[in-house]
């Protein structure tokens, strides 16, 4: 449990520090902590953190994908503003989210943190998604030109993979997936913040 808190706080503080940097200064912490977020899936599975394994797994995988398979792999997009956009969105979200989990584990959750967690996403989610989509879109021409991560026929294993088409499919998948995640958060918000009258007695 202490490990969770320690990792959580460390991530939040570094993320706070990297908020103002260019890609190169945030590159290593970003990679380290987003990849470290894979631990989060385990935390959910172990029940330490009260979130769904599927939803968290999905979110972590998409972040790891953006960090490694897109931004790291395609040097040309690293100076794009869209990268700054989603990194900023992720950073603010993570600071709030980790504070939320940390305080929850300590059984001393200030209403402000709870409110922030279930309110800020309304703007941060679309902001992050826009940044992510613009970054993938910016990467497309370079991927097509260099044939990055792609395999063509003929080859002795009779297999092919077109990373360019794959990225387009990923972008399209945002259309059904993003509204579902967004409205899930909105429903959670109604459930959690709906009891404002009861809560004032607890704190």
């Amino acid at each position: 449990m202490w490990l969770v808190i320690a990792v959580g706080l460390a991530r939040a503080y570094v993320a706070r520090g990297s908020y103002h940097g260019l890609y190169y200064s945030i590159e290593k912490p970003l990679k380290f902590f987003q990849t470290g977020a894979l631990l989060e899936i385990l935390h959910c599975a172990a029940g330490i953190v009260p979130s769904s394994v599927v939803l968290t797994g999905f979110q972590v995988m998409s972040r790891v994908f953006l960090t490694w398979a897109v931004t790291h792999s395609v040097r040309e997009v690293q100076s794009e503003d869209s990268v700054l956009l989603f990194v900023a969105a992720w950073t603010v979200t993570e600071i709030i989210r980790y504070s939320f989990y940390t305080f929850s584990l300590l059984n001393h959750l200030p209403y402000l943190i709870k409110w922030a967690r279930y309110t800020f996403f309304i703007a941060l989610y679309p902001m992050g998604v826009t940044g992510e989509l613009l970054t993938i879109y910016a990467a497309l021409p370079y991927v097509q030109k260099t044939g990055l991560y792609s395999i063509t026929l003929p080859n002795k294993y009779n297999f092919s993979f077109d990373y360019h088409s794959f990225l387009i499919l990923v972008m399209i998948s945002y259309i059904p997936l993003f509204p579902q995640l967004y409205f899930h958060m909105i429903r959670q918000r109604k459930k959690v913040l709906g009891h404002i009258e009861d809560y004032s007695k607890v704190e």
Partner: protein, 310 residues
Amino acid sequence: MKHYEVEILDAKTKDKLCFLDKVEPNATIGEIKSMFHKSHPQWYPARQSIRLDPKGKSLKDEDVLQHLPVGTTATFYFRDLGAQISWVTVFLTEYTGPLVIYLMFYFRVPFIYAPKYDFTTSKHWVVHLACMCHSFHYVKRLLETLFVHRFSHGTMPLRNIFKNCTYYWGFAAWMAYYINHPLYTPPSKLYGEQQIRLALILFLFCQIGNFSIHIALRNLRPPGSKTRKIPYPTKNPFTWIFLLVSCPNYTYELGSWLGFTLMTQCLPVAFFTLVGFIQMTVWAKGKHRSYLKEFRDYPPLRSPILPFIL
């Protein structure tokens, strides 16, 4: 003869849905389901789950009213299992797809490959062999569904047909695309012929094996019944594997697809084999556990799917 009264409540809302009086003590759950269906025609018996406890296990159709732990006024809880579809229908649909789809790729129907290849045939003999094997496999499955298998359950939830068909049809298309592609590369010249020959032998051996197991399992169960017995090796040597494995039908199925993978040397086929293996292992472990729970004298040497390993 003392009659029972039966009331059926909704498991979630506890609303009284149905009241049956003058029910025979030897009435079965199946008969009660039919009576319930009369008052609620949208809930045909296959989609009714009747239990003694709202969160408990479903009672079986064969269970008799007077043998259940209920008083003369019996209270049952009902849960709707959702729209149901018969196992036979699902199997026929999910197996016909791959048969037809693969052939479409084999004959290079337009809009799949470049127009200059429309309706051409591959120059590699292994491609023709693969088509025969794949088609034979699915024809065998269809015939087994119609004439061999004796299903425990009549139906499954309707949404399964979409899930299952996506799996079978999707993978069939993915594999067929590469095997029948104009740029397909058959196993290399050096050991290619031997590899294909070995693969074919493995495939045929396992097809016969799989069929033998299906016949053996069918013979365990008299027609129309749902009895469960421990399967044992018979005079057919292909069933001797029962000494070491609980679900040899899955073992042979894995062998068939390994043969097909080796024959075609195609990565998507390897993926299909792997995914199928994982799913069959899950099923085999479940079946093995049920056998152990139900039969005290279950042979201890047996493993679920791979002798001594899994």
